[in-house]
């Protein structure tokens, strides 16, 4: 306020002009970046990974109190549903006990049959456990940040599970962070089979909570309630990992309800299956 009014005016005009120029330049730069992101994904990914590595430690600290709040809210929820949940669990336990017996029998049978057939077993999987530190993207992107990266042995294309269930794959790997692409993201394509009919399909996300089954063979007759598991095709994922159940079939569009929901995830495991990622490298070609 001490300056001369005329000088203030001139300065303001000058500043306005400079700002307008900067504004236009930066708008153009934004468009240029969008096109660059479309064309050169490697460069963009590298920068993204750097920033993710930087924010992960901060998010890790910040996610603790958020996690405590979530636990409290969930605890109140659980308290209300305690009785019903108890009855349900008792029933489920009885059912599972039966399945356990069946599984033991099948396991023994399987072992003896494998011994007879000289069956080559699937490679063993190793697991890398990590904490979800960032749940990002909102309505546009379905991805998460975890606090494990190449330092812990996480590699691009590996499957990510919660419990036994598939939730997505590793899309970008930093030094100490990695971004998981969830099943519901439009860029997620997972080879699956429908349990029972063994019909193959590709599970593709579309930002909704229920990804859809594409490339399903026409005579496969999927039904609501059928379980969907990974097929292991492409070599990225172990076969037989539970993904979800068929929730609806409308106008030929089959939608799958994943077993795990995004908001439930606190810890996840990255599966190191010992096979190359999504991109098949120089595997011996059996066809020729």
């Amino acid at each position: 306020m001490k300056q001369h009014p005329g000088m203030v005016g001139r300065l303001a005009t000058l500043r306005l002009l400079a700002q307008r120029f900067a504004f236009l330049t930066l708008v153009l730069a934004s468009f240029a970046l969008m096109l660059l992101g479309k064309a050169d994904t490697v460069l963009v990914e590298r920068v993204r990974v750097l920033i993710d590595d930087g924010v992960t430690p901060v998010l890790q600290v910040l996610s603790r109190p958020a996690s405590a709040v979530a636990s409290m809210v969930n605890a109140v929820h659980d308290l209300a549903a305690l009785r019903a949940e108890n009855v349900r669990l008792a029933e489920e336990n009885a059912r599972l006990m039966h399945w356990q017996t069946v599984a033991r029998e099948l396991d023994n049978e399987n072992k003896s049959l494998r011994a007879q057939l000289n069956y080559a077993p699937d490679p063993d999987s190793a697991f890398i456990s990590a904490r979800v530190v960032g749940d990002t993207g909102g309505a546009f992107v379905r991805s998460m940040l975890i606090n494990a990266g190449s330092r812990e042995g996480v590699r691009k294309g590996q499957a990510v599970i919660s419990g036994e269930n598939l939730i997505g794959r590793v899309a970008e790997v930093g030094d100490r962070s990695a971004r998981i692409l969830l099943l519901t993201d439009p860029n997620s394509n997972i080879p699956v089979v429908i349990e029972g009919s063994r019909a193959k399909a590709i599970l593709t996300g579309d930002n909704s909570d229920r990804p859809r089954l594409n490339y399903l063979s026409p005579n496969s007759n999927p039904a609501v309630g059928n379980r969907v598991v990974t097929s292991g095709h492409g070599g990225a994922f172990p076969p037989g990992m539970p993904v979800g159940v068929i929730a609806s079939i409308q106008d030929g569009i089959v939608r799958v309800e994943p077993f795990v929901h995004r908001y439930q995830l606190e810890y996840v495991a990255v599966v190191d299956y010992g096979l190359p990622g999504v991109l098949p490298s120089d595997q011996p070609d059996n066809g020729k």
Partner: protein
Amino acid sequence: MKHGVAQRVDHMVRQLVPASLVLILVLLQAIPWRLPALAGIVPALPMIGIYYWSVYRPDLMVPSVAFATGLINDMVLGTPIGISSLAFLVIQGMTASQTRFFNGKSFLVIWSGFALLAAGALLIQLVLSAVLFGRTPVASALLIEYVLTVCLYPVVSWLFSRLQLFWLRNE
């Protein structure tokens, strides 16, 4: 002139307050809240910061700050880069061009202004994301995000006004 350097550092740090607060909002929206009701919904908190500072301290919320914070927002969220930069620039630019209009207006008017600009910014993100990258969000999720963002404006705005009083009073 004895405290020249210290004063200059102090001044510089204060200049960075708006940008830092927007960055904190970027991080806040990336935290996993793990609440079933909020599954897949992330309110666009940084937009509130961009708008607030563009209205009250347009000298500190310049285009380059909006651009840079937008870029970091895209990096952290995993959205296609450049999309948030553009949306933030639009909020900043539109607000900066209307400084005279906003001057001395009631909170309700400023809040309405935000509701309008946030809708525009989200629409830009929606169109660009769909046209350039083939990513169409579910309309209902986007709508809830928008409503949540607008509803959170008074809270963030109140917090920022406290901080502004505290840090930037002497500027």
